[in-house]
Amino acid sequence: MNDSNNPLSPHLQIYRWHISSLLSITHRIAGVINLLALILIFFWLVVLSLGESNYELFLSIINSFFGKSILIGFTWSMSFHLLSGIRHLVWDLGYGFEIKTANISGTIVIITSLVVTVIFWLFARGFI
């Protein structure tokens, strides 16, 4: 195991920001946040198995301002990662590489992810 010749990716501060690079790094970050969300779901089920009083305490934390903010953040990271993932799959099929097309699809992903977050939240919390 020789470390000296091991190439690393250039660190993020090196790049000039474009829509393409912004979405690329956000896709990764949203993916990691989704993993945290899945870990929260893990604890959700663990607490559910611990009985009613524990579960109700857990729900009161989830339904606090802090808890709801986290859940809304997770909703956005899920929406974004999914939509951006579809964009990646389209690239994998060989379409959409032109700079103009990629910028348009990137903008669509950002806007749609925000719209989906609002709609998802309103439906899931029973406002609609």
């Binding site: 899945l38 779901i41 893990f42 559910l48 729900l59 997770f74 799959l89 939240w121 919390r125």
Partner: protein, 107 residues
């Protein structure tokens, strides 16, 4: 794992996971406004149990491949990278197994 295989499995798990994860997350956010008994009733459905366990296995597998890529890009020391990958692999088996056991015996 061979890189091509990894690439294909990464896409495949993504496609399986997308609808399932949205379903589970939507259900949990909905259950957050409801009672304990409604939550346990939801997970009594055998199909929902199977889907939930699947989400954990497939989800953690998808995450394991992705984290491997991120480690490859940003961890310099081979040894650290190796340990990070091992820890991720272990968690990606143990956590879904705990969910499997919980859903069979406890919920």
């Amino acid at each position: 794992m061979k890189e091509t295989r990894k690439w294909i499995l990464h896409r495949l798990t993504a496609i399986i996971l997308a609808p399932l994860y949205v379903w589970l997350y939507f259900s949990l956010v909905s259950l957050s406004t409801k009672s304990y008994s409604e939550a346990t009733y939801f997970f009594e459905n055998p199909l929902f149990k199977i889907l939930t366990v699947m989400i954990f296995f497939v989800g953690f597998f998808h995450a394991k491949i992705s984290l491997g890529e991120i480690f490859e890009d940003y961890i310099h020391k081979q040894k650290t990278k190796y340990v990070a990958n091992i820890l991720t692999s272990i968690s990606s088996i143990v956590i879904p197994l705990i969910i499997l056991i919980l859903l069979i015996f406890k919920i």
